[in-house]
Symmetry: C2
DNA sequence: ATATTCTATACTAATTTAGTAGGAATTACA
DNA sequence: TGTAATTCCTACTAAATTAGTATAGAATAT
């Protein structure tokens, strides 16, 4: 399971929103400050929004807010919303990636590895890192 | 932890050698058959050899053999011999990849995730997939 | 009206991955 | 001693992925 910068920033964004839970909309530029690309973070926020993990409001005073309590978010669902394929190897989650899965000697390893990773991340909640 | 094709093929190579444990040297061309690039597999074998997981003999009748019993090899050591960085995110194993590790809110997640993955792969042995 | 904020899509540069290519060194065997 | 089979070494390359940048548009508070 390789975490890309999208996953990393998505989690940081959620941490920021989590810390400000209940305080209304938070804009991307407030989250990034001057130290990071607003444009890139916008794109990440859009993915989280599309996955219904956060909700948006446009315009002045707009921004993003969490849709549920920080203790209800698993780290898994956050990463899964922005990453293409969280599996250690594509074939685990993408049936088209390999046709010999049934006879593959190494496949069970990747599959089991993914299960362990996913379980850990499903049990870990956003509130645990606030 | 993303497994590249190098890791996948390395494990398949080791499985082949494991099945032929005690039968002398096995050449790359025997392992790959006609279905796969001998040249690429040679490179992977060279990495395993450099890591002392297998030993080589050149020339006619040459090839590779395991240096210990299949039950002594962990999947972790095999993958680690050929992959650059098995961690979910570079900073976990590469100190130069990030300077703010101490204050990073998400770092503990990646670190813990890696520990879980590594432990699983260390307990899983080559013999388990023969 | 205007400034601020998200939305959508297209583009690009850098990096990584997955090989390919060519030849040198070593060895068994005829 | 010659030859074929094998590993060893290094350089190269094409495709895919990643990490952003750029541009323009839509919605909203004031």
């Amino acid at each position: 399971m390789r975490i890309s910068s999208k996953g990393k920033y998505a989690l940081e964004l959620m941490v920021y929103l989590g810390r400000n839970y209940g305080k209304g909309s938070i804009s991307i530029s407030e989250i990034t400050g001057d130290s990071f690309s607003v444009k890139y973070m916008e794109k990440i926020a859009a993915l989280l929004n599309k996955a219904k993990l956060i909700k948006s409001e446009r315009g002045v005073e707009g921004g993003y807010t969490l849709v549920k309590d920080p203790k209800e978010y698993s780290i898994f669902e956050i990463l899964n919303a922005v990453e293409d394929n969280l599996a250690p190897i594509k074939c685990v989650l993408d049936d088209d990636a390999c046709k010999v899965k049934i006879t593959c000697k190494t496949y069970p390893i990747w599959d089991e590895l993914y299960e362990i990773e996913a379980e850990f991340l499903k049990n870990k909640k956003l509130i645990d890192i606030l």
